[in-house]
């Protein structure tokens, strides 16, 4: 378990920035304590400082995971974001539900703006398809945030506002309107179906 080097930090923040923009600071300075990133066996973990103390006292060979894994570095030092980061990158307050329900998840950010600004909603019919790892086609697209640029990182939701995973917008919002129904509009990056499909590789 060691802190990230400069290069690694840059890679991670760059990737995160694609999804949440400049709000990375909100991930680090949270009302319930300072959080940090640590590297352990090529995986990046996000944990609070208190947890860090506990994790540091566990022998290195025995430590399996600490806090939440955000992603891992590939052999060529590229950072791949994994679906386990979804909870932190998706916005907190869900649209369409009444009073704030008791969330014991990550605390709400200090600013009112949700972390993730670019969202894509998927129709119920193609939910399953996305959960199997397929890209999202125009026919399955329910809603999309305005002014999404091409190749912008997006968070994919179901119509019930349940976060399903991440993606990269294949087309900007304007183009999405024009393109034919079978064209891909969101490239699949990670989805929650991986918890079942790729159980073994999560660690």
């Amino acid at each position: 378990m060691r802190p990230l080097t400069e290069a690694e930090t840059r890679a991670v923040f760059e990737k995160l920035g694609k999804y949440i923009g400049e709000n990375i600071q909100l991930l680090v300075d949270r009302p319930d304590g300072t959080y940090c990133f640590r590297l352990h066996r090529d995986r990046v973990y996000y944990l609070s400082e208190k947890l860090l103390k506990l994790a540091a006292s566990v022998p290195r060979e025995s430590l399996v995971a600490a806090g939440s894994c955000f992603g891992k570095f590939t052999k060529s030092q590229k950072f791949r974001l994994s679906v386990t980061a979804l909870d932190f990158l998706a916005p907190y307050a869900k649209v369409g539900h009444g009073p704030e329900r008791p969330r014991a998840g990550p605390a709400a950010p200090l600013s009112a703006a949700p972390l993730s600004q670019y969202k894509v909603w998927v129709k119920p019919g193609s939910e399953q398809s996305f959960l199997y790892g397929n890209h999202v086609l125009k026919s399955g697209l329910g809603r999309v945030t305005e002014s999404t640029a091409q190749y912008q990182g997006v968070v994919v939701y179901s119509m019930a506002d349940v976060p399903l995973g991440f993606g990269v917008a294949a087309k900007s919002t304007q183009e999405c309107r024009k393109v034919d129904p079978l064209a891909i509009v969101v490239f699949h990056q990670a989805d929650v179906g991986e918890y079942v499909r790729n159980e073994d590789t999560l660690t």
Binding site: L54, P59, L63, V64, G105, L131, V196
Partner: protein, 690 residues
Amino acid sequence: MGRKLDPTRKEKRGPGRKARKQRGAEVELARFLPPEPESGRKKLSSHGRKRAAKRRLGAGSGPAGRRPLGGGGGGGEREPTAEEQLSPQKEKRAVKAAGQTARGRSGFSDGNSKWLAPAKAKKTQPKGNHVELSSDGEVEEGSWEMEEEEDGSSEEMVDDYGASSSEEEELLPIEKAALKQKPDREGLSEDDSEEEEEAEEASKQKMGQKEEGPDLQLNLDIDEQFKLPTSEEIEKEAAEPPDLHVIHQRIQGNMEVLQDFGVKREEGRSRQEYLALLRRDMAAYYSYSDFLLTKLMDIFPLPELINFLEANEVPRPVTIRTNTLKTRRRDLAQALINRGVNLDPLGKWSKTGLVIYDSTVPIGATPEYLAGHYMLQGASSLLPVMALAPQENERILDMCCAPGGKTSYIAQLMKNTGMILANDSSAERLRSVVGNLHRLGVTNAVVSNCDGRQFPKVLGGFDRVLLDAPCSGTGVISKDPAVKTNKDEKDIQRCAHLQKELILSAIDSVNAASETGGYIVYCTCSIMVEENECVVDYALKKRNVRLVATGLDFGKEGFTRFKDRRFHPSLKSTRRFYPHTHNMDGFFIAKFKKFSNAIPQAQKDEEPAVEAAAPSAVPDPIISEPPPKKKKLEESKADKEQKLPQPALKKKRSLQAQRRPLKAVRPFLKMMRPKVPTRKKQHRVKANGQ
């Protein structure tokens, strides 16, 4: 050619397809239906009406039935009622309970009242703590039951299949319930018909027989007494493939005799012989090893044993736990119902559990599951965490956490505050822990892969510890039938030994001085006394802990004595759960409070060499074991020597250096102690594992 659509003929529309009756059905039914319902009668269902009609037609003719209607309803423990045989549908226990409410009316009005008496309700609720929230039984069944009660005049019940039900001979109530549930069991259908034939002949005689008592119905005719098989018969049976039907009948007959041994025994045959035969038969019928069955016969009284064995044949209901970090039970239930899942809240004792009756979608793959809104978990696994009662901002250790259900429950109770160290010794199974924790959004957990016995050396000073110890799995036979045969004495002993080591490590990892904590919860999914009460008793003797109430208000109390062993009286606060009484996996839960961080040293004059060698660290529990526990040394026990070699053998992994002085001291000990006859002590860890 299709059916011509006739707009003038309006199809009856109602719930379900069957609301559309065939033309002419009304005509047919009119033959059966009474001209008008009697005033004050409960409105009967169609099924009920047909039965009533048949009864009226067939009363007085045909083989005399018997109709112990008084015994209507009831769970398996109540006396046999042929109702159960009649109803082709599976009986929900709730229905029985519902049926019982109508039993208020006393006696029967017809001529059978002499010999037909309402049975005393032994248990009004099927063990009140039924986890499975019984959905209110279908109205039809309920009304049918009640109608049975009311209509005490029917002597002969002819069920819809035309077979006339007859007084059950030897079937215990649970057997009847089992018959219901296993229509495909080869022996049973023959059983039915055979019973019926026999009973039909015998029933005439029985009609005149006086009932011996309201809750004991004479099932056997005097001349059909159960006889132990002769040696020739045994040989013959051994030669042929086992006939389950015959074995089943013999089991029932045997149980009958054993219940009332003085009266029904054969002259010159001991109880042991009957028991031995019963054991053999049950082992053959339910496919258990003889060893396991002997153990079970020690734990359960005979009627309960049959219930237990039957319950192990059937899987427990699927239950899920809502992840309150991400959703509420209400919302989750709604979402799942929309997907087509049939579910109910688990019970009053749980605010997060849901039981799934059936579902059109796979429960382990819904988008809600993948989003981490719930976790598939057995109902009994919720209990130890409820007993542990973790508070926010505490440090918790979960020593054997895979696959992570209890850990995530702890995290959700703590609302992701504080810290959890989730440990397991198996790296493979830890993958599922990590997966589950991430999926459910647990952020305050550190996952480690250490041997549990290494705590507290790795890390100590926790506020609470949960130890879900690896065990023989005798409580979850319904999940893994291989346990029936592959467990033997050595396995149980090995498990017990490991559990003892783990529990001492767990106790040592807790900080007794913690303001909010200082609790250890020990649980296993086994029902063996060696793994449960013995381990708890051992811990009480070895460490400064005491047992406290688990906070679970249902469940059977743990044993304070068992066969020749006597445990500490506080073991009454531990809890046992069984599949047949609570409809959840067999479980045992004990909650300790540590009141002092000091580790009690062994008696000083016994082994000074060992004392010097043993620093006050983890090795302590192992060292202090060979010397006797806090018992007075004046009472010397010869079996101390027996104890010494055993830990030396089993704990060779740890601290061999410290063991050597022990070995040197042992012969010295032998000379010191005069040999006295071994006094039976509880909780000694003998090599032969008693």
